[in-house]
């Protein structure tokens, strides 16, 4: 009886992961190609930038906020970094000098970071709800980026940029190392700094955090700024992987990132969520998508499957906290 209860609890608490493992095994049996190395390097490659986005948005969700501007920010970051990394033959802005690859990434991160500051300012100091503030920024960034690029594609990249996706270190390409680096930094911020602890405190109970002397406003601005920097970097990473970007790069990625975070266990009501949550969520999402493709599921039906997974995952997750009371 007790054992049965334990087993049920285990299933409920790890429902998503169990579902994923089952799906992977079934797919592997039906389509042996699924287990080929090439497939997995592809999945991990896509996961790299998805993880960076999810880690950025996780910070916002932990404070019981959200960030709808992520997708458009990614597009802007991608174009911004891209214009500094084109071959001389086909530059979008011929007068613009080319920058070293890391510096271009830094430019994208800094510009996006400034915009994130603005979003955060409205949320923290003017009490605009995050949903609205980030939606406004989403519109602004799209407009700015469309004017900036004239809605034309940015491509024809220098080799040094594309090499990030081609060259490997210890069997993993550089983009994956970048993502791992960001994950490590985020883990450090979440667990080893005041800022991270303040973030959890604000998510747990903003009034109590304020009474305890937490600088709530500054912390919120920093969180949205940091998130926007991550989106800029993710845009830069997508450019290296795709070889060309446009204003529509990253469109809708914010929703997938929010979904991935919540599937992994970042609570939308605030206060809960770890780096591993974002990682698990992104992994579940990407593996699921690939598995469905391998099984030959209709492309549109895949969306239905993803929606169903979100329902199941979130219901199970919320059950954990509700049952405790």
């Amino acid at each position: 009886m007790n054992q049965q209860k334990k087993a049920l609890n285990f299933i409920a608490n790890n429902g998503v992961i169990i579902l994923m493992v089952v799906l992977v095994i079934i797919t592997g049996i039906l389509k042996p190609n699924f287990f080929k190395l090439g497939n997995w390097t592809n999945i991990i490659g896509t996961m790299s930038y998805r993880l960076v986005i999810a880690l950025g948005i996780a910070g916002c969700i932990i404070t019981a906020g959200c960030d709808l501007s992520a997708g458009r920010m990614i597009g802007f970051g991608a174009c911004l970094a891209g214009v500094f990394l084109q071959n001389p033959s086909g530059k979008m802005f011929p007068n613009l000098p080319n920058l070293p690859v890391p510096v271009a990434a830094l430019v994208a991160m800094l510009v996006c970071g400034c915009l994130g500051c603005v979003t955060g300012f409205f949320i923290a100091y003017l009490h605009v709800p995050p949903f609205i503030s980030t939606m406004a920024m989403m519109e602004i960034v799209y407009g700015v980026n469309s004017i900036f690029t004239g809605s034309k594609n940015v491509n024809n990249y220098v080799d040094a940029y594309l090499d990030l996706n081609r060259n490997t270190f210890l069997g993993l390409n550089f983009l994956i190392w970048v993502a791992l680096g960001i994950a490590a930094i985020t883990w450090f911020i979440f667990n080893m700094t005041r800022h991270g602890k303040y973030m959890y405190a604000i998510g747990g109970n903003p009034q109590a955090a304020e009474v305890a002397g937490v600088p709530v406003k500054q912390t919120l601005v920093l969180i949205y700024m940091k998130a926007a920097m991550f989106y800029g970097l993710a845009g830069f990473m997508i450019g290296a992987r795709a070889g060309g970007v446009s204003v529509n790069t990253g469109l809708g990625y914010e929703m997938e990132a929010i979904a991935a975070c919540t599937i992994g266990g970042v609570s939308v009501s605030g206060g809960r969520g770890k780096v591993s949550s974002a990682f698990i969520g992104v992994a579940v999402f990407e593996i699921l998508k690939t598995a469905l493709q391998f099984l030959g599921v209709n492309a549109y039906a895949q969306f239905i499957a993803l929606g169903v997974i979100i329902y199941i995952a979130i219901s199970l997750d919320i059950r954990k906290y509700v049952a405790k009371k």
Partner: protein, 502 residues
């Protein structure tokens, strides 16, 4: 037809750990205003909620018009002619007066099979009932645009429109201006002439003397008695409200009282109805009690000192030096800590661990290289305070929401002790915690005072206030009404006298 319109007989109600009502009686004569009096927590509101069907009584009966009735819920109460005007009955502020009056019973008209709301009739009827209570504002105005007094008139008009025979008014004047009080009394007099029986809960003695016909007094959930209003003087009412035996269960205090550490001069809130022109001093090693009724603005005053609320004027001196406090961290730098009254609302962070709940106020003190948290050092501090305060928790990673109220409170105490403040403000420190934990909190307070910390304790529990304080200030309606320094003078009657000087 019996003498009484409504009788409550032998009503009892228990909540986990408390007997809120113990065989209470109340008899209302038609066409009278019946004042229901008692201290905070005497059970007045609980009794009314039982009558109105919000709570289910454990024992007792309701006799309406000589007939025994059961009230199952507020809607049932309304249909039986019992209405309640209560600030906690949340109206829908963003909708019109008319919609609020007819919420849940909108007049409808039919277009064939389609039922639609008859707005015209609704607003005409609203206008009619507002006229009945001599109020002439627009039925289409948003409820939120009205003053609190006007909203109450809407509630009363609603009661009249449902031909209520019994109207309960729970502290209706606590946030009204003098003109609004006059308007309310005029309506009440009209209702009295129409034979309506009213229950009037208030602490304001002069109002009681003016409007009440009968007075029922309650104390600690017990029925004390019912008198005709002209039989009792104000002093007699107070004596009956507080006349309990005090047993000394409070631990003895050691240590001496030293120099002044906190001096507050003419502090006023930006809100007229909140604390105004409050001056007081606090000494080292002292436990300073703040007494008063709920709504006396004691919490607001302390939150003002701590930088949570805005001040319009006044100064705060800590150890002789004037400081400006704009936010809690300023107060913390000056050596002040605040344990808030509403533990769930702005005390604990439920989904975080015990350690994080202690740590949140002291991360600045545990940094390596200026930005890396020193977890081992923090663990030691948290571990020490768990032992010192005897916090019952499986370990420091346990989520605080899984602890009992008393242990949660100790965690909050640990949070502030880790910050080592000179001045600790404790707002209702033992609210909602069991007797054993209460005693432990008292001992902790005495220990802290003996170590030379200065403590301000807000307490609405008379026994605790008298038992723990070295000195007591009593507030009423935002103003400091009295200071009691002499232990001999620390009596329930004296505190209550100051507390009801509106």
């Amino acid at each position: 037809m019996s003498e009484y319109l409504l009788e409550l007989k032998g009503v009892s109600k228990s909540f986990p750990g408390v007997r809120a009502l113990d065989h209470v009686n109340l008899s209302l004569r038609p066409g009278t205003v019946h004042a229901l009096m008692g201290e905070n927590g005497a059970g007045k509101s609980t009794l009314m909620k039982c009558l109105f069907g919000i709570y289910k009584m454990d024992e007792g009966e309701i006799i309406l018009d000589g007939q025994k009735v059961e009230v199952t819920d507020p809607d049932d109460a309304m249909s039986k002619g019992i209405a309640m005007v209560h600030q906690e009955l949340q109206p829908v502020l963003a909708r019109s007066v008319g919609e609020n009056m007819y919420l849940g019973r909108f007049p409808v008209k039919r277009y064939g099979p389609l039922k639609v709301i008859d707005h015209k009739k609704m607003y005409e009827d609203t206008k009619y009932w507002l006229d009945q209570v001599k109020m002439d504002f627009d039925p289409k105005a948003l409820l939120g645009s009205l003053s609190i007094g006007q909203m109450q008139s809407v509630e009363i008009a609603k009661a009249v429109s449902r031909s209520a025979k019994v109207v309960i008014l729970d502290e209706p004047t606590s946030s009204l201006s003098e003109n609004e009080v006059e308007a309310l009394f005029r309506i009440m007099n009209d209702l009295r002439d129409k034979g309506v029986a009213m229950v009037y809960i208030s602490h304001k003695m002069d109002e009681i003397k003016r409007i009440a016909d009968d007075i029922t007094i309650m104390r600690d959930g017990q029925y004390v008695g019912t008198w005709s209003a002209d039989e009792l003087t104000t002093d007699q009412i107070i004596a009956k409200m507080v006349g309990r035996e005090l047993t000394n269960v409070y631990p003895a205090k050691k240590g001496t009282i030293g120099e002044v550490v906190l001096e507050v001069n003419h502090l006023s809130s930006i809100h007229e109805r909140s604390f105004q022109d409050v001056s007081f001093t606090l000494r080292k090693g002292e436990i300073l009690g703040f007494g008063g009724l709920v709504g006396a603005q004691r919490t607001e005053l302390m939150e003002g000192i701590f930088g949570i609320r805005h001040l319009s004027s006044g100064t705060i001196k800590v150890k002789g030096k004037e400081i400006r406090i704009k936010k809690p961290s300023d107060a913390m730098k000056a050596g002040i800590g605040l344990i808030t009254e509403d533990r769930r609302g702005n005390g604990i962070m439920g989904c975080l661990s015990v350690k994080d709940n202690v740590g949140v106020a002291v991360y600045n003190k545990f940094l390596k290289a200026g930005f890396i948290l020193d977890h081992p050092a923090m663990n030691k501090v948290v571990d020490d305070s768990i032992k010192m305060l005897r916090i019952k928790t499986p370990n420091m990673q346990t989520h605080i929401e899984n602890l009992s109220g008393g242990n949660q409170q100790k965690v909050i105490v640990a949070r502030w002790l880790a910050n080592n403040p000179d001045i600790l403000i404790m707002d209702e420190p033992t609210r909602g915690i069991d007797v054993g934990a209460k005693h432990e909190i008292y001992e902790i307070m005495n220990d802290l005072a003996a170590q030379g910390k200065a403590i301000i304790m807000i307490s609405s529990e008379m026994a605790e206030l008298l038992g723990m304080s070295d000195r007591i200030y009593v507030m009423c309606a935002g103003k400091l009404r009295g200071e009691i320094t002499d232990k001999e003078q620390m009596t329930q009657e004296n505190v209550m006298n100051y507390a009801t000087q509106f």
